[in-house]
C-alpha cells in the first residue's frame, strides 16, 4: 500500500469537516440525461443523479471564479470551480470515470447541478475542464447553461 492509499481515506474525512460545520452551502451532483427519441432532446427523458460528496455525504467546495480567472481561462461568465474532490479509493471518493462520464452512451447529456444560496432552485453547468493532475485531489471547472431540470 502506498502513502497515497493510506492518506486518501483520512483526507476524505478531513474534507467533510467544513460541510459538517455548515460551511459548504452548495450541493453538487452529476446529472446524466437519456432521451428516448432519435435526437438528443426528443422523447421522454430519464435523469440519473449522482451526488458529488466527501465523507458523510457532505459536498465539496464550490467557488465562483473571479473576473481575472475567467479572463485568463477564457471561460464564460459565472464559471465555477468544484473541488478539491477526493479521488476514489476502496470505501469512498470519486473516480475519474464518474467525473468524465466515460460510460455514458452516445446522445446522453451530462451536467453538473449546483444547488444552494447562489442557485436556490438549482442550476445546470456544463463541465468544461477537469484537473486530474494531482494525486490527492481533483478539480472540475464548469460554466452555467440553464436552470436545473428533473428531480
Amino acid at each position: 500500500m502506498t502513502l497515497r492509499d493510506e492518506l486518501l481515506p483520512t483526507i476524505w474525512g478531513i474534507r467533510a469537516i467544513p460541510g459538517q460545520l455548515g460551511l459548504r452551502p452548495h450541493a453538487v451532483s452529476l446529472v446524466t440525461t437519456t432521451w428516448s427519441g432519435a435526437v438528443t432532446g426528443e422523447g421522454t427523458k430519464t435523469v440519473t443523479i449522482v451526488p458529488l460528496v466527501e465523507s458523510g455525504g457532505f459536498p465539496p467546495k464550490v467557488r465562483w471564479l473571479s473576473d481575472k480567472e475567467i479572463a485568463f481561462g477564457q471561460l464564460a461568465g459565472g464559471a465555477a470551480r468544484v473541488g478539491p474532490i477526493t479521488p476514489d479509493f476502496p470505501g469512498g471518493g470519486t473516480s475519474v470515470a464518474t467525473l468524465t462520464a466515460s460510460a455514458a452512451a452516445t446522445g446522453q447529456t451530462r451536467h453538473l447541478r449546483i444547488t444552494g444560496p447562489q442557485h436556490p432552485s438549482g442550476a445546470l453547468y456544463a463541465i468544461t475542464g477537469t484537473d486530474f493532475s494531482a494525486a490527492l485531489h481533483f478539480y472540475i471547472t464548469a460554466i452555467p447553461v440553464g436552470s436545473a431540470q428533473g428531480p
Binding site: 435526437v39 477564457q74 455514458a104 463541465i127
Partner: protein, 245 residues
C-alpha cells in the same frame, strides 16, 4: 389554429403553426435541417463504408464505427461538446450566421440562408491522420455530388426531398478540410475535420388554409353600352370546374 394568421409559408415553415406540427420539440418547424442532415449522413455511410471499415478497425477510438457514427442538428460549439456525449465521426449541421432576405419576384420574397456542415473525425495523432485524414476531402466531394444530384438513392429510396423541406435552391459556397478548432477557441483539442459552407434559398408562398372553402373560380369579362353588351371578351376558369348553385 389562429384565424388572424398571415397564412403564409417561408420554405416549409407554414403560418400558423398547428398543434399537429409538433409533439415534444419544435424541431419539425425546420424540416430542412433534419432532412439535409439525414440525407448527407445516409449518403456518406453508403458511399464510404467500403474503404472505411478496414481502416477504422486499426484505430481503436473509431473501431467498429461507420463513416458517420453520430449526427447532431447543431453547431460543434464547445458548449455542445461539453454537454453531450458524441460518437465520432460526427456530422453537424446548423443554420450559420445571418440570412439575406430580398424580393425574388413581385409576389415572392426569398430567404437565403448560410449553413455550416461539419464532419469531425476526432482528435487524431499524426499516424492516425495518415490512416484516416484523407477521408475528409472525400466527405466533401460526396456532399458535393449529393447537392448536384439533389438526392441519394440510399435516402428515402432516392426521392427528391427538397420540396418537402421547402428548399428551392442550394449550393456549396466553400469547403475547408484539415486540423480545426471550433467556435474561436484556442484551447485543445484540435480536431481532424471538414467544414462546408452551404447556402439554401427558401421562398415565401401562400398557405392554402387562407382559402379553406375555395374550390375554383370562373370569370367572364365583357363590355358594352345601353344598347347592348358584347360578352364575353375575356373568359377564364380555374382547373377545377365550378359547380354553381
Amino acid at each position: 389554429m389562429s384565424a388572424d394568421s398571415l397564412f403564409q409559408n417561408v420554405g416549409a415553415q407554414a403560418l400558423p403553426v398547428s398543434d399537429g406540427d409538433v409533439v415534444d420539440t419544435l424541431a419539425p418547424l425546420d424540416k430542412a435541417r433534419d432532412g439535409m442532415l439525414a440525407l448527407f449522413a445516409s449518403a456518406l455511410n453508403d458511399e464510404l463504408s467500403g474503404g472505411w471499415d478496414n481502416v477504422a478497425a486499426l484505430v481503436p477510438s473509431l473501431a467498429g464505427t461507420q463513416p458517420v457514427a453520430d449526427t447532431f442538428p447543431g453547431a460543434p460549439s464547445p458548449e455542445h461538446l461539453a454537454q453531450r456525449k458524441f460518437g465520432f465521426p460526427c456530422l453537424f449541421l446548423s443554420r450559420d450566421g445571418q440570412a439575406d432576405i430580398d424580393e425574388f419576384t413581385l409576389w415572392e420574397d426569398r430567404f437565403v440562408q448560410a449553413w455550416g456542415l461539419h464532419y469531425i473525425l476526432n482528435p487524431l495523432d499524426v499516424g492516425n491522420i495518415r490512416k484516416l485524414g484523407d477521408v475528409l476531402v472525400r466527405v466533401a466531394t460526396v456532399c458535393m455530388q449529393v447537392v448536384r444530384n439533389m438526392r441519394h438513392l440510399s435516402y428515402l429510396r432516392g426521392a427528391y426531398p427538397m420540396p418537402s423541406w421547402g428548399i428551392s435552391m442550394w449550393r456549396i459556397r466553400n469547403v475547408n478540410a484539415g486540423q480545426a478548432k471550433f467556435a474561436g477557441t484556442d484551447t485543445p483539442p484540435t480536431y481532424a475535420a471538414m467544414s462546408m459552407a452551404l447556402e439554401t434559398t427558401e421562398l415565401t408562398g401562400w398557405n392554402d388554409e387562407l382559402f379553406p372553402t375555395f374550390t375554383g373560380f370562373a370569370m367572364s369579362l365583357g363590355t358594352g353600352t345601353s344598347e347592348g353588351l358584347i360578352s364575353p371578351i375575356v373568359q377564364a376558369d380555374s382547373e377545377v370546374p365550378l359547380v354553381l348553385g
